[in-house]
């Protein structure tokens, strides 16, 4: 595994936009070129070399050390390779990422994996609001790929999400799956209040829900073979990162009946 390491030297530089620091955008650049990339969000024009110590050689892996919640856009638009974040991350981490892997060892801010198209995003800590959600001006949210958050995630995860999987070992905040068009959100710690507002299609799975949305219909307990297929898929593709196998029998709620009602909340508890 060859690659560059960016160690944050100056955490007082304000918010940083690190979306340019992904392997395919750095390919062909030497250290001097990389050091000149502007990452500051203010008129001060802060550059990579002003705030990071860079070491290593160009490759398919980038490692960020000592990052804070002010470091936005980590792994953004990633097309291949791996980005490892040894610290916290700010907003828009993994935004519209297409492939590859983003590992965040700390916690992450809002809009994690917003508009994700493919690849794998893992977070050791917690994630903010709008995980896998639609970005302003875009039509749909996450369209593929997998997000795994070990901690809790914030409100409205999967807003206008179309495809892919969001897994949290913790809980979701309120209104997970809002306006969702497809895909799966699996919250092993439970769903926050009023999940799935205006959910059109897609599946929310959890052992419990803080407060069920009024516009979901109780379909009763059912044995759903698709859950076995999903568990097998997770096990095959995620290995040790896979969630616990899902039970075959779940309590199904159909909704949001305020819209087409073809989505569902499956309670495993």
């Amino acid at each position: 595994m060859s690659g560059l390491t960016f160690k944050l030297r100056d955490a007082s530089a304000g918010r940083l936009d690190l979306s340019a620091l992904v392997p395919h955008k750095l390919a062909g650049l030497d250290m001097r070129d990389i050091a000149q990339i502007v990452v500051g969000k203010t008129r001060d024009q802060v550059r990579v070399g002003d705030v990071f110590d860079i070491s290593g050689t160009s490759g398919d892996t980038l490692t960020f050390v000592g990052t804070t919640a002010a470091c936005d856009g980590l792994g953004s638009e990633l097309e291949s390779g791996t980005v490892i974040v040894e610290g916290d991350a700010g907003a828009y981490a993994g935004r519209t990422m297409k492939s590859g892997r983003l590992d965040i060892r700390g916690s992450v801010g809002d809009f994690l994996a917003a508009g994700l198209k493919g690849g794998l995003v893992t977070v050791k800590g917690a994630a903010g609001n709008f995980v896998g959600a639609v970005l302003t001006g875009e039509k749909n949210g996450m369209a593929g790929g997998t997000v795994i958050v070990d901690g809790d995630i914030g409100e409205r995860a999967g807003d206008r999400m179309r495809r892919g999987t969001i897994i949290t070992r913790g809980k979701t905040g309120a209104s997970a799956g809002s306006r969702m068009l497809g895909g799966t959100i699996l919250a092993e710690g439970g769903l926050g209040a009023t999940p799935g507002p205006l959910l059109r299609r897609g599946t929310l799975i959890a052992p419990s829900v803080a407060r069920m949305t009024d516009t979901f219909g109780d379909c009763g307990r059912h044995e759903l073979g698709i859950l076995v297929i999903m568990s097998k898929h997770f096990s095959t593709t995620l290995g040790t990162l896979a969630p616990r196998p899902l039970p075959k029998i779940v309590h199904r709620f159909a909704g949001d009946l305020a819209t087409s009602g073809k989505g569902e909340i499956l309670l495993t508890g």
Binding site: E223, M230, T237
Partner: protein
């Protein structure tokens, strides 16, 4: 007018004459699907109905059969299953057969689910008909590169994968013609050969029990009939036509083999021939031949002498 067989003998093994001839087979399109159910019994029932009336493309639209049973660990949904193979002249003719058979025979079967059973870059629509039974309540779940449809039905959900693999390199019409002087013994021997062939992956023997008693020739004296009885191999016509049968033969049975690859068909003929040679003589089998059209119609030729054990 009676004549002896015009075909030379390539070898005589265990007292059974092996003709110096070849089976002539044709290129076909093939697909594989996996049927699962709550029990192996219901997976088998479903697969049996699905493959029914699937002996010959000439009259059935597709040639269908059960390739093998699958354990729960081998199926996508962890239930007992059966792998079914279907063959047709072309993808265009195979597609409607797949759609209609799955729609009428799998969707309807208690507890069933239907998945792709052939890894191939070429695909055939599998869910295109059955999923619309959901009347708008069908939903899809895409996992990796596979899309599964969930169709609400009276006993739960019918799950069907969106696409099935397709090969245009399949082969149809591998065959063995087994001749004997005792009808019961001939049937037992042919059954043993079919059982041996069933162990070869990627092949089916689409006729009843894997055996054909009505070997055919191309054409007929009657307008509109594409095929008619192969008089040269009908013992009761031995004295009336140019017969291929000697006086000792009172019955002939044929095994027709379709496979996803030419190698699979060849291997099937090899194990089938071995089974006949191993047990046939004691049961009155006298000769093994193969059907061809002079080598001008089919691209695949399997010479019996090359398949001897």
């Amino acid at each position: 007018m009676s004549t002896a067989s015009s075909t030379k003998t390539a070898a005589t093994v265990n007292g059974i004459a092996i003709d110096d001839t070849f089976a002539e087979a044709f290129g076909m399109s093939g697909t594989g699907i996996i049927i699962t159910a709550d029990t192996a019994k219901w997976a088998a029932i479903c697969a049996t109905v699905l493959t029914g009336f699937g002996t010959s493309v000439i009259g059935c639209g597709a040639e269908c059969g059960i390739d093998c049973e699958l354990s729960p660990s081998e199926t996508p949904d962890g239930r007992p299953g059966v792998r079914v193979l279907m063959f047709g002249f072309s993808p265009d003719s195979l597609g409607p057969q797949l759609k209609n058979r799955v729609g009428q025979c799998v969707l309807t079967s208690p507890g069933s689910a239907c998945f792709n059973g052939l890894d191939s870059p070429k695909k055939l629509a599998l869910s295109s008909g059955p999923r619309f039974f959901g009347d708008g309540w069908q939903t899809a779940k895409k996992l990796g590169k596979k899309r599964y449809w969930r169709v609400p039905v009276m006993d739960g959900e019918f799950i069907i994968e969106d696409k099935a693999g397709l090969t245009t390199d399949a082969v149809g019409g591998g065959n063995l013609l087994i001749c004997g002087r005792d009808r019961a013994g001939l049937l037992e021997t042919t059954e043993a050969a079919v059982a041996a062939i069933a162990k070869v992956p990627d092949v089916i023997t689409p006729f009843p029990g894997g055996i054909v008693r009505s070997g055919s020739k191309v054409g007929s004296k009657y307008k509109g009939a594409m095929a008619s009885t192969n008089g040269a191999f009908c013992p009761v016509l031995r004295g009336a036509v140019q017969s291929e049968l000697g006086p000792e033969v009172i019955a002939v049975l044929e095994i027709v083999i379709d496979g996803l690859t030419s190698d699979a068909v060849k291997q099937s003929m090899r194990v089938g021939l071995k089974a006949v040679i191993d047990v046939g003589a004691a049961k009155g089998v006298t000769r093994v031949s193969a059907g061809n059209y002079g080598g001008k119609l089919g691209a695949h030729h399997y010479h019996l002498k090359d398949l001897l054990p």
